[in-house]
Each structure stands twice: as C-alpha cells, then as structure tokens.
C-alpha cells in the first residue's frame, strides 16, 4: 500500500491511485482528484459519487446499468459527466476501489 498527498491531505491509495480506505474520502479530495482527471465537479457529479459510495458500502456491484437506473442520470449522461472510462474515473474520484464488475 502506498500513500499520496492530495490537496494537502495524506491518503492511502493503491498503485493505480484508487483509495484503499474509503473513509478517508472528503468532497474536497474529490474535487482535487477530479481536477487531476480534467473534470470540474458539479452537484450532478457529487450525486453520482454519493450513489456509488453508498452502493459500495452495501457491498453491491457497481454496474453502468445501476447508475442508469439510479434516477440521478441516464447512461449517456454518465458517460458525459466522466468522459472516457466513466465507472473507473467515477470510482477513483469517489474514493472507492476500482470496480470489479464486467457490466
């Protein structure tokens, strides 16, 4: 396990930059990680991040479909919020481990 200083705070991350301790996450950290990824966070982004964190804490699989059914945003919108690889980026910014789901 390694550590990284984000926005002046030291957090535990794995070699790919995903949080290994989701409890260390704060909204300020999310803002800084998102900026590294070239994303300016809006309320919509935060709503998705909270949804993913909640799902993760319940031990539920993080799937694109679940985000689409969350009522927060449709799938196209999700790709728009986190361009490229939305689930991986969103998980990284949400301070949770890299999603292990295939769908």
């Amino acid at each position: 396990m390694s550590q990284k200083v984000i926005a002046g705070v030291t957090v535990d991350v794995n070699e790919e930059g995903y949080f290994t301790n989701p409890a260390q996450w704060t909204k300020d950290l999310a803002l800084a990680i998102a900026a590294e990824e070239g994303i300016a966070l809006t309320d919509k982004h935060y709503a998705v991040l909270e949804f993913l964190r909640e799902r993760f804490s319940k031990g539920e699989a993080l799937t694109i479909r679940s985000v689409g059914n969350s009522g927060i945003i449709d799938i196209k919108g999700f790709y728009g919020l986190f361009p490229g690889a939305p689930m991986k980026k969103a998980a990284k910014i949400a301070g949770i481990p890299k999603p292990a789901s295939c769908v």
Partner: protein, 166 residues
C-alpha cells in the same frame, strides 16, 4: 511493457451467431470496451442478425440439444432427449435470461442501448440481410448502417485496433 505503451484503442466485434451465449459474449465484450473508453464497433451477420432484429432480439434461445455443457439446475447433465420436447428450449432460455437479469446483465435491447449511449456503434451485414430478406426497418432503430464487409473493414483501420470474432 507493450500493454502500457500500446493500449488497445479500438475493437471491432463481429457476431455471427444468434444464441444467447454467442450474442452476450459480443455484447459484454463490446460494452466492456465502451466502459474502458475504447472505441467500439459491432458488426452483426448471419444468425447474429437475430440480436438486432426487433422481432427476435429479446427472445433469443440457447441450444439445449447437442450442447454438452448444458446442465440441469443443481449440476446434473442435461439429457439431449429432454431438449427435443417442445417448449423445453424456450423454458431453459427464459430461465437463463432471468438468471442474467439478476446479475444486472440487461436484455439485448437495453444492452445495445447502453453500448450506444457510451458511443459504441452497431452495424448490420448487407449480405446476410439480403439472404434473410430483412429490411433496415426490421432492425432495431439504433443500428447505424447496413454495410458490406469492405465498408466495415474501412471502419476498422488504425493502430492498436483489434477485430474480434465471438
């Protein structure tokens, strides 16, 4: 090292069969690529066209006859002779689809819509369409175009591109 230096940038995935397992292999790999930010193009041909034909797309079957990997619930071998009874294939296929739904694997149409929402493109094979006497309007609305094989290859160019036949 080659993995980091030359990551996959584009996949062109061809689906030529119409069973649940063949179609879902193509869909899962395509959606997975889209989720990774990899440019994705799908080409449906021959019986694979069932997966993008409005009438058949959400009621695909799996083969219960001559399929040695088929098992009864609980793991016992599935007797081929059982598979010839009318309705058995339909029942087994419906059961398989409901099992997949529990894992958040969507029905075919919804899956294609997810791929499209992420920027993936879906094409149909002209030759197979002619063979099965299908028209563009018989196909799911999201099908981007009906292409000859040459036209599809034109879309498959570029470095770090793979063509995958499921």
């Amino acid at each position: 090292m080659a993995n980091e230096e030359f990551p996959l940038k584009k996949v062109c995935i061809i689906c030529a069969k119409g069973t649940i397992e063949d179609v879902y292999a193509a869909l899962v790999m395509s959606n997975g690529a889209v989720m990774e930010g990899i440019e994705t193009k799908m080409f449906f041909t021959f019986f694979g066209l069932d997966a993008i034909t409005k009438k058949t797309m959400n009621s695909l079957h799996t083969g219960v006859v001559g399929n040695p990997a088929m098992r009864m619930p609980g793991g016992l071998p599935f007797p081929t002779l059982l598979g010839i009874i009318p309705g058995v294939e339909t029942g087994v296929s419906a059961m398989m689809r409901s099992q997949m739904d529990k894992l958040d694997i969507p029905p075919v149409k919804e899956f294609l819509e997810m791929i499209e929402a992420g920027g993936g493109e879906v094409y149909a094979c002209k030759l197979a369409m002619d063979m099965f006497k299908l028209k563009k309007e018989d196909l799911w609305e999201g099908v981007k175009d009906v292409l000859t094989v040459g036209q599809f290859y034109e879309k498959c160019g570029g470095l770090q591109t793979q063509i995958i036949f499921t």
